[in-house]
Amino acid sequence: MNFFAHQDQARSNTRKLVFLFICAVITLIVITSLLVIGVLTYIESQNEVSINADVLGSKIFFQVSLVVICVIGLGTLIRLGQLRGGGKVVAEAMGGRLLNTNTRDADERKILNVVEEMAIASGTSVPPVYLMEDESINAFAAGYRPRDAVIGITRGCIRELTRDELQGVVAHEFSHIFNGDMRLNIRLMGLLYGIMVIGLIGYHILRGSRYRSAGSRSGKGNGAGAILMLGLGLMVIGYSGTFFGNLIKAGVSRQREFLADASAVQYTRNPEGIGGALKKIDGYIYGTEISSRDASEISHMLFCSGLKNSFSGLFATHPPLQERIKRIDARWAGMKDVKPQPAGDTLSSAEGVSHFSGTGSQAASTVLDSVGNPTAAHLAMAATTLNAFSPALRDEAHNTIGASLMIYNLLLALSDKDTEAKQLATLKADLAEKDFLALQQIEGETRDLPREKYLALIDLAMPSLKQLSRVQYREFMAVLGKLMMADEEISLFEWCLFKILRYTLDERVDRRMKSRAITSLAKESEVLLSVLASAGNENVTQAQAAFHGAEKYLGLTQDLSFQAHIGSNTGILEDAVDRLNSLKPLQKPMLLKAMVTCINTDGKVTAEENELLRAVGSLLDCPIPPLLDGQRYL
C-alpha cells in the first residue's frame, strides 16, 4: 500500500468515525432521556403526583435531545474551530515548549537533528519540535498536513533513548503524518470534544486540584474539597460521554499504531530502533504517563498510552505493548533470513538507485511509491546532506534572522550581475544596517552551495522562519517580492521558492476548496505540463515529445496540446496551479505520474524540473523525497 492508498484508507476511517459519532450522540440522547424520565418518575412516586407517562416521555425526549445536541454541537464546533490553527495548537495546549533550533543542549540538539534528517529524507519541511517536561517516554505528531505538523516529545524520551531508538520513534510519528492518521486524529480530537467535554472539564479540575493540594496542605480544606467534588461530579455525569469517546477512539485509531510501527521499521530499516524504544518503555519506571491536565484529549495521538489508568481490551487506545514488541521482533527474526522485506516495500531492491532512473512509466511508479515513503537510503542521504552543510550555514538556518538572510542570498546567487546589483540596492534600503552587513557575510556560504542542495536548505530553515512574528513575516514576504521583481519577471525557481514558503508559513487558515476531478482541470494540467516540458527541454520538438509522453497518464479523454508559447511564464502557471490545488485526492497520483514521466523522457533532470515537481508536490501535500546521490543536475 502506498501513500495514496493509506490516505484513502484514513479518509474512509474518517467516515467511519463520523458514523460512530452520530451513533454515540443518539445513544447519549436516549440514555439521558431515560435518566431524566427515571428521576422524574422517582420524584413522582415520592410526591404522589401523577403525570401522564406517554406524553411526558415524548416531550422529555424531545427536550433532552435538544439540550444534548446543543451541548455536544457547541463543544465540537468550538474545539474544531480552535484546532484550525493546526498542530501547534495541540502542542501548546499540552504545555509543550517549542525547542529552539539554535539550542546547545545536547539532548535537544539530538532530537532536533533526528527530526531534521527524517524531514529532509521525506522531502517535507522540518516540523517544529515541542518538548513536554515529563519523565515518561512518549511522543506525538499533530496537525492536518505536513505544513502545520508538529512533533511533541517528552523529556524522558530524549534523555533515555539512544539516537537509533529516537529515530525509530520519530519515524513512527512521521508515518502518522504521511498515512493520514495525523489528520484523522486531530479531527477525532475536535469531534469527540463535544461528547467528552463535561467529563474532560471534570478530569481537568481533578488533575488540577491534585497538584494544587499537594503543594498547600494546610487551610483551604473546604474549598479544595468542594472543587474536588465538583470535578468528580462532572466526571460522573460526563462518564457516558467519555465511555463512547474512548470506544470510538479505540475503534478508529488503535489498529493504526501497528501500521505506524511497521512503517517506522520500513523507513529506517532498523527494527531495533523502534523495537528498542518499545522495550525500554516496557521496563521503564516512569512509564508513559503525561502529566498535562488535558492529556486524555490526545490519548489516541500518543506513541504509547498516556494515562495512568487507561482502559484495556475493547477500549484501549493503543494495542498492548507486548503485542507491539512481538510484531517487530518477529519481523526482525524474519528479516535476518529473508531479503527483501515482505509486503509493501517496492523500493527494497532499488536501494541506492535514484527514483528517476529507468524508463518513463517505471520511473513514475517508483516515484509514486516513494511519496510519503522515505527509505533508509533517503535517510542516509539526508544525514550526508546535513553534514555537508558548513556549521556556519546550519547555524544561520537555525535562527530566524539568519534564515531570512539566507533565503535572500539564494535569490541573489541565481541572479545575473545587473539584477544582483538592483537586488542589493533594495536590500540595503530595506534592511537595517547591521542586518545588511550580516547578509554580506553569509553570502559566501550560499554562493558555494550546489543548487541540488537548495531545497534541503529551505526545508531546514522552515522552523526558524515559522518563528517570525506576524509583522516580521509580512516584511519578509514584501522584501522577497521586491527581490523577485528586480528583473521584471519571476523565474521558475523564484516562483517555486515563494510558493513553498507562503504555503508553509502563512498562518491564514486554508479555505477548503471543493474537490474537482481532473477532467475539469484539463486546461490547467495542460499549462503545468507545458511549463514542465519547456523547463526540461531546450528543443521544442523534444519538449513536445515529453509533453505527449506524459499527458496520457492524466487519463483524460480529450487530447491536450503542448503550449510552447507559455515557456516559463509563471503568471499563467500561478493561476493554473492554484486551481489544480483542488484536485481530488485520488487523482493526485495521476498528475504526479504525468509530471515525472514528462521529466524523465530525456532521462535527465534539470534543476527547474525538480524544483517544480517539489513545489507542486508540497502544494498538493504529497511529500516527494529528494533525488538520491548519483543524480546530478545538468
Binding site: 439540550v67 457547541l74 504545555g95 515548549r97 539554535n102 539550542t103 547591521k434
Partner: protein, 198 residues
C-alpha cells in the same frame, strides 16, 4: 421542563463554552510569548558565554585597563543572573526591567571596551579577538530579531487580555498582570526608525 428552561440551559451552555474558549486562548497567548522568550534566551546565553573569552584575550594586551575589563565581567554576571530570573518568569515586569537594565549596563561596558581596543592595534588585529567580536555582533543581531518577535507576542497577549470580554475573566483565570516588553537600549536600532529594523 418548559421552553424557557431549555432556552436558559442552552444559553448557559453557550456561555460556559465561550468562557472556556477565552481561558484557552489566554493560556495559548501566554505560552506563545513564553516560547518567544526562550528564543531570546538561547542567544543571550551565547552572548554571555562569549564574553569571558573576549576578556581573556584582551587581558594579554591591555594590562593597564583593568577597570574596563572588570566592568565588563561584572556587567556580564549581573546580566546572567538577570536572565535567570527573567526566564523563570518571562513577561514579569520586575524581571524584565532588571534584565533591561543589566543588558544596558553590559552594552555600555562593552562599548567602552571597544573604544579601548581601538587604541591597541595589535589586539584589534588578533585573530581570536576578531572572531569573537564578529560572533558577538552576530549574536546581538539575533537577539534583536528575536526580541522583536517576543515583543509582538507580548503585545498580542496584552491586547487580547484588555479587550472586552476577556478583560472580565483575565483576573480570575490568573492573568491579572500585563506582560512587560523587553526593551534593550540598542541606540542604533532606535535611530534607524524609518527603516525596517529587525
Amino acid at each position: 421542563m418548559s421552553a424557557s428552561t431549555i432556552i436558559v440551559l442552552i444559553i448557559l451552555a453557550v456561555v460556559i463554552f465561550w468562557v472556556v474558549g477565552i481561558f484557552n486562548k489566554l493560556v495559548t497567548l501566554k505560552n506563545r510569548y513564553k516560547n518567544a522568550f526562550s528564543q531570546i534566551e538561547v542567544q543571550l546565553k551565547r552572548r554571555y558565554d562569549l564574553i569571558p573569552n573576549l576578556v581573556e584575550t584582551a587581558k594579554g594586551y591591555i594590562q593597564h585597563e583593568r577597570e574596563t575589563l572588570e566592568a565588563v565581567i561584572n556587567a556580564r554576571n549581573q546580566a546572567m543572573s538577570g536572565l535567570e530570573k527573567a526566564s523563570a518568569n518571562p513577561g514579569n515586569p520586575a524581571a524584565m526591567l532588571d534584565l533591561n537594565q543589566a543588558e544596558g549596563m553590559l552594552s555600555g561596558a562593552l562599548g567602552k571596551l571597544n573604544v579601548v581596543v581601538e587604541a591597541y592595534p595589535d589586539l584589534k588585529a588578533n585573530q581570536n579577538m576578531m572572531q569573537l567580536s564578529e560572533e558577538l555582533t552576530s549574536t546581538e543581531n539575533k537577539v534583536a530579531f528575536s526580541r522583536q518577535a517576543f515583543n509582538d507576542a507580548v503585545t498580542e497577549y496584552n491586547t487580547y487580555k484588555q479587550t472586552f470580554p476577556p478583560v472580565i475573566f483575565a483576573g480570575t483565570f490568573g492573568h491579572s498582570e500585563n506582560a512587560s516588553l523587553l526593551e534593550f537600549a540598542d541606540s542604533e536600532a532606535m535611530q534607524e526608525a524609518p527603516k525596517v529594523s529587525f
